[in-house]
Structures are given as C-alpha cells and as structure tokens.
C-alpha cells in the first residue's frame, strides 16, 4: 500500500539563487536546486531519489547531496525518497529559480530486510516490518523469463520462503501456506486466479505494474481475509505530463501500454493490454497438439486525478481471460465430447480516494469489486451444443484508513472494512440444448466480513521500534440456505443426516470472529545491524476446495459455514539483519514458525463436482510450518543480485475421528504437497554498459512429495495399486539455470523511441525435471509414469519499444 504523501520535513526554505552550471533551455524554465542533508548529522545525502509530478523517472542527488534541474514554469510536485529516511513530499508554484534546503528525518529503525533493489527510485522504501519484500518491476523485468514472458509469480519463487509445486503451479506457497491462503491484490482488488494457462504465466500485465510488496512475516493490520501472506501489486500511475507508449512483441504474447495526460498535471490515463496469439501455431504443429488451443489476454486501465494538493482519486479496472482446449479430460457421463475446454475470466474494479486533512492526518477510502468466472466446456461431438460447468466468485469490499502521524515517534493507522463474498453460483451445469444431462445449480453462498483495525508504529527509543496492531474480524454466513445436522460422533456423510434447518434470506447461518493481533519489534543492535521479531494472527473465511496437486483455475471456492470452520493461522518470526559497512551488501537470517487451524483437506476419494453438501467430502485439520531463511543481497554496483538458502517444512495433520475416512495417514503429521525442505536460489544481474543487461538465475529445491502405492490390490485378475498413506514419497529434486540478455538502444538515429531486444534461454542445460509421478493401467497390470514439463532448453526473443524523452 502506497502512502508516500505528506511525510515529515524538518526544515525547508525557498531561496532565490543564480543559474549555475547548466544551460538554460528555451522557454520559460527555472532552475530547481536542492540540497539534501541528514536532519541529525547534517551530512549530505547521496543518491537521494527525486521525482517530479509523480513521474516514475527521477533524478539522484550527487556526492554533495545536491541536484539541479531546469523545470518549466508552473506547479511542481516534488517527492524525495532515500533509504532510511522518511519520504519528503512538497508542492509549489515555480516562478523563479529556486533552491530547497531539505533535512530529511532519518528513520534509523527502518533497517533493511530483504529488499531487492535496482537503480530505481522505488527501491528505497522500507517497512519497519519483518518479512516484507518489495520487488521492483524493473528487477523482475531483468530476470530470465520462460518464453520471454515477464512473470511476477515466477520471479517471486526466487525469494526465500516462496515455493510452488512445480512448473505448472497455479500460484505460490509462501512460508507453508496454500495457494489460496495468499491474499493477492492488484490495485487493492483481490485476484482469485493468479496464472494464465494452468500456471504457465502470471496474470499481472508487466507494463501496468509499478511495484509489488510481499508480506510473508508481520502483516499490517489493514490486511485480512487470508491466512498466510499478502502480495500487494500496485498498478502504475499514468504519466501526467507526457504521452508515452511502450510495447513489445514476444513469441507468446504481444503488449501495448499507453499513458496519456488528459489534463496536464491533473488527470492521466494508463491503458495496458497483452494478448497471446498461439492458436495458429498450434494448428501447424504435429497431430498430437493440433487439437490444443491456448489463448490468454489481460488488460488494465487506470485513471489518476490530482483533484487538488489534498485530494487524489484513482479508478482502475482489470480484466483477464483464458481459453484452453485439450483432448477430453474426465468429462460428464452421457456427454459425447472429444475435447475439454477451460475458460476463465477475471473482471476487477477499484477506486481509491486519498485525502490529506493536514500534514499529519490523511485518509484513504477504497472500494473494490472482483469477479471471477471459471468454466469447463464440453462441446458435444454430435452437434453445435456445448455443455458448460461453471461457477462465479464475487468479492466486494469497502474500506477506509485514517493515518495519523502526531509526532516523529508515532505513526497511527485506524481503519474499517466491509467485505461481501458471493458465490453465485458455487457450481452450475448448463446442458444447453442437450437432452442427455440435467441442469444443476447449487444454491448461492453469501457471506459478509466486517473488520476494524488500529495500528501504531511507535518508536520507543532510538533503538527500539514497535509496530503493534490489532484487527478484529467478524464473519457471517448468510441465508437463504439450509444447514444439515449430522449424528454426533458419526462420519459426516449422507447416511448420518439427522435433520435440516432452513434459514431465510440474510439470516446468519453461522458466525465466526475474533481478534487478529499483529506485532512487530525492531531492535537496532548497531548502526548496521538489527534484530526483529513479529507475531501475526490471521483468519480466512473463504477458501479453495481442491484435491489436485495445485488448485485448478476451475476449483471451487467455498465460504466458511456451519460445518467448514475458518482457517486461523499464527505466525511467529525472528530475524537478524546486517548491512555491510559500504552498504553494498545486505545479509539476513530469518526463522519462522506457523501453526494453522482448520486447514481444509479432502477425504480419501472425495468428489467435489457439483456437490451440494461439500462438508461430506472434506476434513479439517492442522498445519505446521517452520523454516530458516538465509539471504545475501548485493544492492549496488555493476553486478547486483542475491543468493538464498531456505530450510522449510510444511506438515499437516488430520484426525477428525477414529474411522479410516476421518483420518489422513492415521492421524499423524504428513508432508503437504508443497513441502520442499531445501531450496537454494541464485539471481545475478550485471549491467556492464548502457546497452547490455545480462541476468542469470539458478534454482534448486527438494522434490515435492507424491503419493506412492503402499501395495497392490488384486481385483478380478487385475493388479491395482492402492494408496494408504498420502505424500510418503518424493519426486526428484528440482534444479534449473536460466539466462537472459537484454540489449538496449541499439540505434540512436531516432531518439524519441528506444528499442530493446531480450533474449532468454530457459532451462539452459535441459534438465528433465519431474512434475508428477502417476500410475496407469496397462492390460491387467499397472505401470508408473512420470510427467516432465519444459524438459529442454527454451530459447525466446522479445522485442520491446517505448518512447522516451
């Protein structure tokens, strides 16, 4: 969440000065000179990042803490940021040459955790929290990408504590959380399906993203609703003073982003789109893939309006779509179809109003709506009819935050939020014109989550800072609907139903709630080292119901109800941070322990398709995750990058009763699908000159668990493997090396446009990493098989172009 405006300034003066050093450009321009010093020591601040008029391109102060620039006459909005200092924000009318002498307030406690930085303005923002990572989109764009598609989700997996089940993973697992336990926000609106084409590419259009923050440790009290981590992706603000175009042509998709000031320095619009064009290629391929269709696209638009110095308004919308057709998978009884199609769309809206009451008090009001509609289509072979199985997920939220900075020791935030969950429908079978199947529609599920929070970031002493937050959330599962009662002490199944209670519209069928404390402590041990600790409790009232290795885009979402209790996660973290004397290197060592109650697991052999009383297919249990993450980051110089090692475990336990069907692995702890104890990541980017950027990444992780047979069952002269225990074996360890080479500005003939070529080699040494191991019937026996994805080097080329000053 960006709150860069109106922070603290100790002293600022406006003085008239003479023109020095530079040649004054034609037109009415004046010199802006700025001298930046530390408020306590008076020493110049080197490399302070200066932005004009919310522009993402900025300047840096020199070794004397000075910058100078000629700026056109008129209103100037100035933002100055530097690592370890509060951000300075000012707005003034430029009518003469001006010198500003600024003393920035050092925020010594805001010592670095894991910040992956490039030479970019946004790099310096720090949070006094443990386990927050801010990734700049420029960093991500420099990393090698599979088939040249810049990918936030894949890039995140290079960070410690972030893993996935494999190449085709529909999301990430952060510190032992399931994919749906992550709150993924794009301009404040939640994203329910973060990937295109079953996990191949992430859904965030890279040119529309400004930055992303990942909270895997202490989560600020303003976030709620999911149990593990928060990924807050901010959409870029449009340029308010210049028409800008950038685009790219890649092997998989092509992109175009346009930024246009509608009213100069007041209102700007950003529109970004990306689309794939693979279909015609697939048609030309070998027979095995000619039936496959794979298309995706996404588009984002944002309107940003500076109403006046105290008010800004932004309105954004985001859309994505996927279409994937393959040979028949599963299918529906009595429907003759040769292919299965998956289609899913996301349509989000968000609006944000920022109001500054005074330099000390400001407020943000945000309204969002997310609508996600996945469907499976079965085109009937005999005619043009298509049978559709679909669901609809809608989440609407209204929230307000008040930020109050009474003095330099306190930073207080108070907020309230109202979330409306609507599953309409949770599942529907639409037979179309087919007479072979019946229509099915599961009843709507509605829920409301009310929440309030208060948080204070309190600088107790120059060495100790405390962030103490408290959130309270209350969830109501609302009617109309009916709740079954099951015979106490029996297994929840059809035969043990002893009664049904009906509820009217808007009548609460079940309620849950509780406090969610958030605590972060930072103790500065020296000028260059600090110790941090934190505790976070989070409650989750809507989750994905899945029994696949990774939730499918079409997996069913389910609100908590009378039988499915909300998931509650408690996370404790401790970390040590050290910066090298020359501030080039950061080192960190973090440990965490997470306990989650009421995780949702599926019963042995569960079936979710269009099932009404889903509680008969589910079991709830506990999850325990713990790990140690070590990381070294090189932040400055020609070569930057990081190296990290993580030891992490995720274990689940399900024991609802004595029966075999109420337990998993006899009620003992067993590894989760994404339990990968050892991970090692290396990422290096070197920029030897203005033209060339070279990046390399290497990743290694332990093989994930899979369910291996415990024996062979004989049935009617056939041998059938059976599986008593879940996840007791592992696929092979995973490792991969990728390269990326970016060549910029090859021609200087036309300075208005800058082109760049990106060459990517994914899986350099062509390792055939396993994705899954499974068993197939052959005759009367069976045989194990392995599925490998991206098992050879993949070379790709992308051409990008943008106009620039």
């Amino acid at each position: 969440m960006k709150r860069t405006l109106l922070l603290f300034i100790l002293f600022a003066s406006l003085l008239s000065t003479s023109v020095v050093g530079q040649k004054r450009p034609p037109g009415k321009s004046y010199l802006v000179r700025c001298v930046l010093t530390d408020s306590l020591t008076g020493e110049p601040i080197v490399n302070g990042a200066v932005q004009f008029n919310y522009n993402r391109i900025g300047l840096f102060t020199d070794k004397d803490g000075i910058f100078e620039i000629f700026h056109p006459e008129g209103e100037v909005v100035l933002t100055i940021r530097n690592m370890g200092y509060r951000t300075f924000f000012a707005k003034f009318d430029l009518r003469r040459d001006t010198t500003l002498t600024l003393r920035l307030l050092a925020v010594a406690n805001e010592l670095a955790e894991v910040t992956i930085s490039t030479q970019n303005v946004d790099q310096t923002l720090r949070k006094p929290l443990l386990g927050v990572t801010r990734l700049n989109i420029k960093t991500i764009k420099n990393l090698p990408a599979v088939m040249g598609e810049v990918d936030i989700i894949r890039s995140l997996q290079l960070l410690p504590g972030v893993t996935s089940v494999g190449e085709a993973s529909n999301g990430v697992n952060i510190r032992g959380g399931t994919v749906d336990q992550n709150l993924m926000l794009f301009d404040d609106a939640p994203i329910f399906n973060p990937t295109h084409l079953f996990g191949m590419f992430s859904v965030f259009p890279p040119d529309a993203v400004a930055s992303l923050e990942m909270y895997k440790g202490t989560t600020p009290a303003r976030y709620g609703g999911r149990a593990a981590a928060v990924l807050d992706v901010a959409m870029a603000n449009p340029s308010l003073d210049q028409f800008k175009v950038q685009g790219g042509i890649g092997l998989i998709s092509s992109r175009l982003t346009v930024e246009m000031p509608l009213v100069k320095n007041k209102i700007g619009l950003l529109v970004s789109g990306r689309g794939s064009f693979n279909d015609f290629l697939l048609k030309l391929g070998p027979p095995a893939i000619q039936g496959i269709r794979a298309n995706f696209g996404d588009a984002a638009a944002k309107l940003f309006w500076i109403i006046n110095p105290k008010n800004t308004l932004s309105v954004s919308s985001y859309f994505n779509t996927d279409f994937f057709q393959t040979e028949l998978l599963g299918g529906v009884s009595n429907i003759v179809s040769e292919s299965t199609q998956f289609k899913y769309n996301t349509l989000n809206f968000s609006a944000k109003w920022f109001h500054a009451f005074s330099p000390k008090i400001d407020m943000q009001v945000v309204g969002t709506q997310s609508n996600y509609t996945p469907s499976i289509l079965l085109p009937e072979t005999s005619d043009d009819n298509t049978v559709e199985i679909m669901s609809g997920v809608m989440q609407r939220q209204l929230k307000a935050n008040l930020n109050y900075t009474p003095d330099e020791a306190h930073k207080i935030e108070i907020g309230a939020s109202l979330v409306n969950y609507l599953l309409d429908p949770p599942g529907r079978l639409d037979p179309g014109t087919s007479l072979s199947v019946n229509a099915v529609e599961l009843p709507q599920e509605r829920g409301v989550e009310l929440a309030g929070h208060i948080e204070d970031e309190y600088k107790v002493t120059p060495r100790l800072t405390v962030m103490a937050g408290l959130r309270y959330s209350y969830f109501l599962d609302l009617g109309p609907g009916s709740v079954r009662a099951y015979l106490p002490g029996s297994i929840r199944e059809e035969s043990s139903v002893i009664g049904v209670t009906d509820y009217a519209r808007a009548e609460p069928m079940a309620t849950y709630g509780g406090f969610e404390p958030r605590l972060g402590l930072s103790l500065k041990l020296s000028e260059l080292a600090s110790l941090k600790g934190g505790y976070t409790l989070m409650r989750q009232y809507m989750q994905v119901i899945s029994n696949a290795t990774t939730p499918l885009p079409t997996s069913r979402w389910k609100t908590s109800d009378a039988h499915i209790k909300p998931q509650v996660s408690r996370l404790a973290t401790l970390g040590y941070f050290q910066t090298s004397r020359n501030t080039i290197f950061d080192y960190s060592l973090e440990a965490y322990w997470r306990e989650t109650d009421n995780i949702v697991e599926y019963k042995p052999g569960a079936d979710f398709l269009l099932r009404q009383n889903i509680e008969t297919q589910l079991l709830q249990g506990q999850s325990r995750a713990y790990g140690i993450e070590a990381m070294a980051t090189k932040k400055k110089g020609t070569t930057t990058g990081w190296i990290s090692y993580t030891y992490a475990r995720v274990l689940n336990r399900v024991d609802e009763g004595p029966s075999f069907l109420e337990q998993i692995n006899k009620g003992d702890w067993f590894p989760a699908n994404f339990d990968r104890p050892h991970s090692f990541n290396l990422s290096l980017t070197t920029i030897p000159n203005k033209i060339t950027t070279f990046s390399a990444t290497f990743t290694y992780s332990s093989g994930r668990p899979f369910t291996a047979p415990t024996g062979v069952l004989r049935y009617e002269n056939r041998s059938i493997p059976y599986f008593t225990f879940r996840n007791q074996d592992r696929i092979r360890d995973y490792h991969r090396l990728d390269f990326s080479l970016q060549l910029n500005n090859l021609t200087e003939k036309n300075r208005r446009w800058q082109g760049s070529w990106i060459f990517t080699l994914y899986n350099v040494y062509g390792i055939d990493n396993q994705y899954s191991v499974f068993f197939r019937q052959i005759g009367n026996g069976f045989r194990p098989y392995e599925l490998t994805v991206f098992n050879a080097p993949i070379f790709s080329v992308t051409f990008n172009i943008k106009n620039f000053r």
């Binding site: 004595p658 499974f774 019937q777």
Partner: protein
C-alpha cells in the same frame, strides 16, 4: 520463406506444450497386508464371499487366502445365513439361496485370529432397466500384451443403451467376460514340457540367450476368459431419467477373424458401492494431467469392529443383476488389424502335433463350452 516460417512455428508450438510422459523406472518398497473382501448378494445366484489377504512386499505382491473364518450374512427381516468354506478363502451359501428384492443384508465375519468385521447394511434394489448392447467396428486401438508391450489392433467396441428410471438414484456397474478360443494351452521357455508332471521342466540355472519358446497345443477345446481392463461404472447423478446411448463398455480386439463371446453382467449398485468402485477406478485410470483426482485408499464398507482405523478393501453389496451374452462376429470387416492372443505367431514345440496339454479350468481359462458359444 513460408516453409521456414512453418518450421519455426511448429518448433515453437512444440515448445509451448513442452511436456512429456515417460515410463518411470522405480521400484516401490511395499510392505503391507491388505484384507480384501468381495461378494454380492443377488437375486439370481447363491452368495459367494472371498476373503483374501494381499501381501505386498518389495515391489511385488501375492494373494493369501484366508481360511477358517466364521462368515454370516445377516438379513434385516430374515434369519442369519451361515456360509461354509467351499475352497480356501471362498465361503458360499446353500446353492438354493437367493437374495430377496428390497431386503437389507449385512456381512459379518470373524477370522481365526479373533478379529471381527462387519459391513454396512445394503438393500437389494432390483435392476429395473436392463441395457441393450450393440457393437461398432473400431479400426485401430492400442492393446497391451506381455511386458506392457502395446500393439495396434482393430476391435469391436461394445456399447450399451438404456433408459434411466427417473424416480430413483441409480448407480450401475458392468462386469464383462470375453471368451476367446485358445489353441495353445502352454508355453515353456527354454525347456520342454514334461508329460509326467504336466508342467514345463525346471529351467536351467543359466538359460540360453535369447530365450527359446515352445508352444503346446490344447488337447481339446479351450477358452480363454479375458476380464475387464477397466471398471465400468455409471452414475445417473447428472442424467437422472434420461436415455443413455452409446456408453462404451468394452473393446474386444481382433485376436482372430473368427467369433468370440462376450458375457455382460449389469448390476444396480448402492451409492456406497458405487463410490467404492469409483475409488478403485481412480487408482489407475488417470491420465497424469493436472486435473487428476489423487489416489485414495480403496476403502469399502467393511470395518473392523474393534479398530475402525484398519483399512479393509472390498465391498459387500446387495445388487440387482442382469446377465446377457452377445456373439461377436468378426467376419466381413475390411482388412482389420489382427494379432493372436499370444501376441505373436505360434512357435511350435518339437513334437507339436503329438504332445498336447490339458486345458485346466481356472478364472482365466475353461475347457467347458461357454453358454452362448456358437
């Protein structure tokens, strides 16, 4: 230029769907015992319950029959029916016993080691709609022979049509048996047949490379009984009351150009029984794709009375039944792909026409002419 573009595009397409399924060479360290119980009460035959233990160890498994158990069928409105052990691990009722429609039965048994088990109650619901069957010529399917060797063959695909009753939930199971005439009753590898022991001679410690095969003819008629390679279940959950057409039940490969007999037994399952067979089916009939249902233990409706956590496989059911036999006439189809049952041509033994081998009756072979054979 166009050709180059096409080539590049094809390469790219291959890359996009760059995934590969290969046999995975791994031996799994089994170490498990699984009690397996099978048996149905039906309206048209006596009850036959089999109790077996599957012992799986170090990548292999074998069956152990369970003898000496006390086995009872308990009817809700009738007497307790005591079964007697007719052969090792096989417990049968009086030959005259028949299940009654709408009666509720459960299975109870006590092993020699004192462990007691019982099933859930199952009600015998008669089958109301018997399916009708038809065949379609399929020019090319993949058929597995020994050592997972897959060969292309033509087949007659057997399809079922039926009307699902609208007023009840219906779950169906089909079991099929394909009878194929078998001229070769024994194959000895590297050694010849011993008429005295009626078996192949013991193999030498260092067999010749490559192996030599000796095929022996049957001394009379012999039929191979080929069971199902997949579990045919069908639920009316989404199609209740509809007409079902063209449900594929079995592919009968062209093992010869002559005829073959297919016996189709249709059962009306309870929901619980259906779920059991569905789980069994899920074990191996998966595709390895991202939408697969994960493997789950084939837990049925039988429970250890004192230890609910013990996994017992198998299902005791009370089921409606319809048996039909259809003659598969494989003459008159244009150039079908035919491969004999052996998967190869006959390799005659030295005295091929003189030394003949008896056709031993088993679950996979019979010397008795099957009902309906033409």
């Amino acid at each position: 230029m166009y050709q180059k573009l096409t080539k590049a595009a094809t390469m790219l397409a291959l890359l996009l769907i760059m995934q590969c399924v290969d046999p995975y060479r791994k031996t799994f360290d089994y170490d498990d015992n699984l009690l397996t119980v099978e048996g149905f009460v039906t309206e048209d035959s006596p009850v036959r319950i089999t109790l077996r233990n599957t012992r799986s160890t170090q990548g292999t498994s074998f069956l152990q029959t369970i003898s000496g158990a006390k086995v009872e069928i308990r009817a809700k409105r009738g007497p307790v029916l005591r079964l007697s052990e007719t052969s090792a691990g096989v417990y049968e009722s009086d030959p005259d016993f028949r299940g009654k429609a709408n009666e509720t039965y459960s299975l109870y048994f006590e092993l020699a080691n004192g462990r007691k088990y019982q099933s859930t109650e199952e009600t015998l619901v008669p089958l109301r709609t018997a399916a009708s069957y038809s065949t379609v010529f399929n020019p090319r399917i993949s058929v597995a022979f020994q050592n997972f060797n897959q060969r292309a063959m033509s087949s007659l695909d057997v399809l079922a049509d039926f009307n699902d009753p609208v007023d009840q939930e219906n779950y169906y199971l089909w079991k099929t048996r394909l009878f194929e005439q078998q001229p070769i009753c024994l194959t000895c590898i590297d050694v010849e047949y011993n008429e005295r022991t009626q078996d192949c001679n013991p193999r030498p410690p260092t067999p010749s490379q490559p192996s030599v095969y000796y095929d022996y003819q049957c001394d009379g008629d012999c039929w191979e009984i080929l069971g199902d390679e997949r579990i045919n279940i069908f639920s009316d959950a989404l199609i209740n009351g509809k007409e079902v057409k063209g449900l594929l039940l079995r592919q009968a490969p062209f093992y010869s150009r002559g005829g073959a007999l297919l016996e189709l037994t249709q059962h009306n399952l309870s929901k619980g029984a259906y779920r059991y067979f569905e789980r069994l089916k899920q074990q191996v009939e998966t595709s390895g794709t991202f939408v697969d249902t994960p493997a789950a233990p084939p837990v049925g409706n039988i429970q250890n009375i004192e230890d609910a956590g013990e996994l017992v496989a198998g299902f005791f059911g009370a089921v409606g039944t319809n048996v039909q036999r259809i003659w598969l006439d494989r003459r008159g189809y244009p150039s079908p792909l035919v491969i004999p049952l052996l998967g190869r041509d006959v390799l005659p033994s030295p005295r091929f026409d003189l030394v003949k081998v008896p056709c031993k009756a088993s679950s996979t072979r019979t010397p008795f002419k099957p009902t309906g054979w033409q």
